[in-house]
Amino acid sequence: MPAKLPKKPVPKVEASSAPSTETGLEARRPAYIIVFRERSPANTKVLAAALDVNEAKGVAARDSRTILQHNHEWAVRPRVYERMGLAVADLDPSEIEELQKSDSVAAIVPNRERRVPPIIEHTDPEVAYSPVLEPGRIEPPVSLREPFVPPPGAEFAFAYASGIRDAAEMVLRAFRPSLPSSGLAAIAGSAAHSWCLNLIGIDEKYSRATGRGVRVAVLDTGIDLQHPDFQGRFIGGDGTVSFVPGETVQDGNGHGTHCAGVIGGAARPNGGRRYGVAPDAELLIGKVLSDAGRGHDDQIIEGIDWAADAGAQVISMSLGSPRSVEDPYSDPYEVVAANYLAMVPGTLIVAAAGNESARPSFTSPVGDPAACPSIMAVAAVDKLRRVAPFSCREMDPIGSLDISGPGVAVYSAWMAGGYRTISGTSMATPHVAAVAALFLEVNPELTAQQLWSRLLESVVSLGVREDFGAGLVQAPKAG
């Protein structure tokens, strides 16, 4: 485990607590740069509408720059630079999605050192944030750096090219069945079995492990208590608890039901197709995110303590918040997770790495709390074992990726007794948590730390660790 970081500064949450060279502006660097397609006064309205804020009148405004109101208490004031066609802001995932829908926005990139384009460095020092080079290090010429703004349509082209490649492979195999595998052949599902189960090696011929006798906690938006696939599956007594004020554990979002389904969906589900990795695991359901899909650290940490006290051997957390490169991980999560990981037998906490990348345009670092060294960070892959376009990357020594799981087009339970196919590192995380439960069933003596090691030793390597961690999680072959 990496050494503890030096004492971190208190995050600045309001202008009054953040010294600045200009009245009303924080010195802290915003997390994102928004690149507009045109240099237009309308850019301000686009950003203001997406962030649901108004202009902050009189706050260090200039002819060429407009300051908006805080979009979050933790965020700096968004700034729009009309002459450059840029804006800077701290954004949450829903705001990023909202902006990406806008035709006016060409790209949203993390505000990182050394990736700020020269034109900004020399035009407006407020956006440049002095990309300081390490002593003796030579900055590569501009032409060798990663492109700043991707060509329009790049994402579509990427997906299109992948589709052509897959189709070509299928045609080739039709004529030449003996063709050696490229290693990228799609993993197929079936009417009875989700492709995700095949990808992670769930094969009843080789392993009968179903998570029996293992307690897994899902800290999320709750669960559809009436879903036929979960009947009789919850631990009695206080096995389902809501930490969200004013909301019961009944899932009004769907996300929590989906994640719980990946872990413990029935072996013979009502919908016919099996999607649950550990159908006999005992489920603890802690509702720590509201029906709107958000929750406070306080609730989540409370949920972790509750789950550990209730005997959870594995905790699955498909939640997080973005983190900028070199920003420290969250101390409270790390302390709690480290304590439970060090106990015997202990509790392993698994968390989603985050969905803030938009490959090939840009990648974002592993978010919080997955960035904590004592929490297993999970990346998402698709059925071709490629990293998911949205999956966060290991971009600094703080937020390392540990492992990957299926997270694109994942079929699982949904609200109102239904099913849905969705994507996210959220979906990859419960696959890892469930496989951990299988390992514990096969070897109940494993401590949380041994379980961590066992999971990483059993992976199928997929490529660079910055994208996949150790590799793709694999179910135990014995048991």
């Binding site: 208190v10 649901d52 989906h258 899909g293 101390d331 994507s423």
Partner: protein
Amino acid sequence: MKVHITLIPSVRSDPGKRQDVLQKLLSEADLSEVNLKRFERHGILSGEMPKEKLPVAEKMNAVQSVSPDGVKWALGKSPTRTTPSSPRKQLK
């Protein structure tokens, strides 16, 4: 504002030192509405603190970090990113 105060490891494991820093935070950093649930087990104090007192708390030797209570989101791509139903404001 709600904060989570993480104590340094040597204080976390010492009940006497924990109480000392708690008293200091109450008197010097105006910590209030203290949640002690995680104090003994993890050495984490949660409570309300005026913003201007954050640097006071952070400068204490026994304090490793002070973290404002943040927000986390469900990390499914769609359709879980539900946004508030209130209509978007327009610039005046």
